[in-house]
């Protein structure tokens, strides 16, 4: 029954095989265009203790004085040996920097992924079942308004109300400060995740709500649903009964394909909540003109998006067998 899976995976692998090298060259070319002096970015506020000779030494040790093609060649050489290079802003191997920060980001993104899926699908189903009535209008209005709101502003409003105003939730960090990681309870970790996760899940929810609603309406308008309705099934019962499977498969496909965007959102959420993840490292890499780290993050997120799309393709084929003929 999974005869369609192997050709799909093979096709996607071929695509990844050309996409990665092309992206690497493209990204490196892009990054090397930056008119920012990496030595000045590294020295930053320490100008008064770093003389011109030391600046030259810094450039030489980190290879910042080489022309871009040579830098690319040496980066590529390292990559072929499994080394993503050395991050100048963190003074550590790029792989180590990413590995240290990815779990925090993934925890945020993963939780938000699930939360927004459940919430989005639920609201979409309710809206579809009450088409034209006030719950439908309310949900649609909220979804459209959220789609037009800057995510970080939503975050600021949440902080303003729940952290500063009511004092219920922490506005910062992944754990309560002042204690060791081993002393922090799971409950406290969750407590710190609430606001970032809510921010991240609420912002991208609109397409999910509206799509789920549309597919449910399509189902409710179908003869099969009409037949059930004639036997006395209410729209809500239909929505959370036979309509559920119909609408949720489509919603899951859409949601997986958009998973990459959650990473983008997490850059902003991490900035607001001082969350120690990869998003903060991305901003740090850009402000520090940290070429190898930017390359590493670029390629890592490329694979992340690719995986999301692949899962979406698989989900779509599981939900709709007619698609299985396509590679």
């Amino acid at each position: 029954m999974t005869g369609w899976l192997v050709p799909l995976l093979a096709g996607r692998l071929v695509r990844l095989a050309w996409l990665l090298p092309v992206a690497a060259v493209g990204l490196f070319a892009l990054i090397s265009l930056a008119p920012i002096d990496p030595v000045q970015a590294y020295v930053g506020g320490r100008t008064s203790q770093i003389g011109p000779e030391q600046r030259a030494a810094i450039a030489a040790v980190w290879g910042l004085d080489l022309p871009a093609p040579e830098r690319f060649a040496s980066w590529l050489g390292q990559l072929l040996r499994g080394d993503l290079g050395q991050s100048i802003s963190y003074n550590a191997p790029v792989a180590q920097v990413i590995a240290a920060r990815l779990p925090a980001s993934l925890a945020l993104i993963g939780t938000a992924f699930v939360a927004s899926f459940v919430l989005g699908a639920l609201l979409g189903l309710v809206a579809g079942a009450t088409r034209g009535q006030w719950p439908d209008r309310l949900i649609r209005t909220v979804a459209v308004v959220l789609a037009a709101s800057p995510g970080f502003w939503v975050a600021i409003l949440l902080v303003s109300v729940f952290a500063v105003g009511l004092g219920w939730l922490p506005s910062c960090c992944a754990m309560p400060p002042g204690r060791l990681a081993s002393e922090v309870t799971l409950a406290e970790r969750w407590h710190h995740m609430v606001l970032p996760v809510v921010t991240l899940s609420v912002v991208g929810i609109a397409p999910l709500v509206l799509h789920t609603r549309q597919s449910l309406i399509a189902f409710l308008d179908s003869p099969a649903a009409g037949h059930l309705a004639a036997h006395g099934a209410s729209p809500l019962r239909l929505a959370f009964g036979p309509g559920l499977r119909h609408a949720v498969g489509v919603a899951l496909t859409l949601h997986l394909a958009g998973a990459g965007e959650l990473f983008g959102g997490s850059v902003l959420a991490e900035a607001v909540f001082a969350w120690p993840g990869l998003g903060q490292a991305t901003v740090r890499a850009a402000t520090g003109a940290d070429e190898p780290l930017l390359m590493g993050i670029g390629l890592a997120t490329l694979i992340f998006v690719f995986a999301g799309n692949l899962l979406a393709d698989i989900a779509a084929r599981l939900a709709d067998p007619r698609l299985r003929g396509q590679a």
Binding site: R15, W18, L19, V22, A23, G26, L27, L30, I31, L33, A34, P35, I36, R131, G132, R137, R140, V144, V145, A147, A148, S149, P150, F152, W153, I156, L157, V159, S160, V164, G165, P207, L210, H211, Q214, I217, L254, G260, E261, L262, F263, G264, G265, V267, L268, A271, V272, T282, V283, A286, T287, A289, L294, I297, G298, T301, L302, F304, V305, F306
Partner: protein, 278 residues
């Protein structure tokens, strides 16, 4: 497919109404900021961190700058940057969409570029391009212009290929017309509504992303009033209980984005009435 309420009016009238709202809002912000006296935004050591009150209807920030005046100026700045960036992005989409009709090789190149642009999370690509362009206002415009084209380019490519395969184009070609002539006389006129709708759809995304870049410090320079910068400042002030500093600029940006998103959606329905939501 539309809701009951929406189908009461014709799509065309609806689009005209939404467009009117959006354009009036745009005009009001731009005119308001142009009429604003320069002194309205300067620092005032005496009027620091005032809550909303007569004289400062939206309050002042920690440097004593009037939030109302600053919000207006910031929105105008964001709108100008957004218009320029969305315009550039639309042009990129048109060029690449049309280029895709120039043979299989060109189509493949455009396809690969689209894959690349969609291969990274949108915001990560924005950061990379803004960084490569040296940050600042220029960086934002370049970044937004080079990241928002794929969807429109795909639509245009699809449409253009449809037109290129049509009978009247075949006749023109038989009459010995050049590719450029055909593009000018057959392709572009048919695509104009799509292009306009595409621009309107890109615009709210452009201003939201511009605000995001400015918020993390990779966008519009902090001395220029911009929504992203104001919101970044507000984060610091909220802790002191000065909630009003962040409320107005965010709300203003949301209203503008909302108006144009509704306009774009309504416009899209006039061109493809059976279309979905995405």
């Amino acid at each position: 497919m539309n809701g009951v309420a929406a189908s009461r009016r014709s799509p065309r009238r609806r689009a005209a109404l939404q467009g009117g709202v959006a354009l009036v809002l745009l005009g009001a912000v731009l005119a308001g900021s142009a009429l604003l006296p320069e002194s309205a935004q300067t620092v005032d050591a005496v009027a620091r961190a005032l809550p909303p009150q007569p004289g400062h209807i939206l309050g002042t920030d920690l440097l004593g700058r009037d939030i109302a005046a600053r919000t207006l100026a910031a929105l105008a700045q964001s709108l100008q940057v957004g218009l320029l960036a969305a315009g550039c992005s639309t042009m990129v989409a048109v060029l690449l969409g049309l280029a895709a009709t120039f043979g299989r090789a060109a189509d493949h190149v455009v396809g690969a570029l689209t894959e690349l642009a969609l291969g990274l999370p949108h915001f990560v690509l924005l950061i990379m391009i803004a960084f490569a362009a040296g940050g600042g206002t220029t960086g934002v415009i370049v970044a937004v212009a080079l990241t928002h084209w794929p969807r429109l380019a795909r639509v245009l490519r699809h449409e253009a290929q449809g037109i290129a395969a049509s009978d009247y184009v075949a006749i023109s070609r038989a009459l010995g017309r050049s590719r450029g002539w055909i593009a000018r006389h057959h392709l572009v006129p048919h695509l104009v509504p799509q292009i306009v709708a595409g621009f309107i759809v890109i615009f709210p995304h452009a201003i939201l992303h511009e605000a995001g870049l400015s918020f993390i410090g990779l966008g519009i320079e902090p001395h220029l009033p911009s929504v992203g910068v104001m919101l970044a400042d507000s984060l610091r002030e909220i802790m002191a209980g000065n909630w009003w500093v962040g409320a107005a600029p965010g709300l203003g940006l949301m209203l503008v984005a909302l108006a144009f998103e509704r306009f774009g959606e309504a416009l899209r329905r006039t061109t493809s009435p059976a279309g979905g939501v995405a």
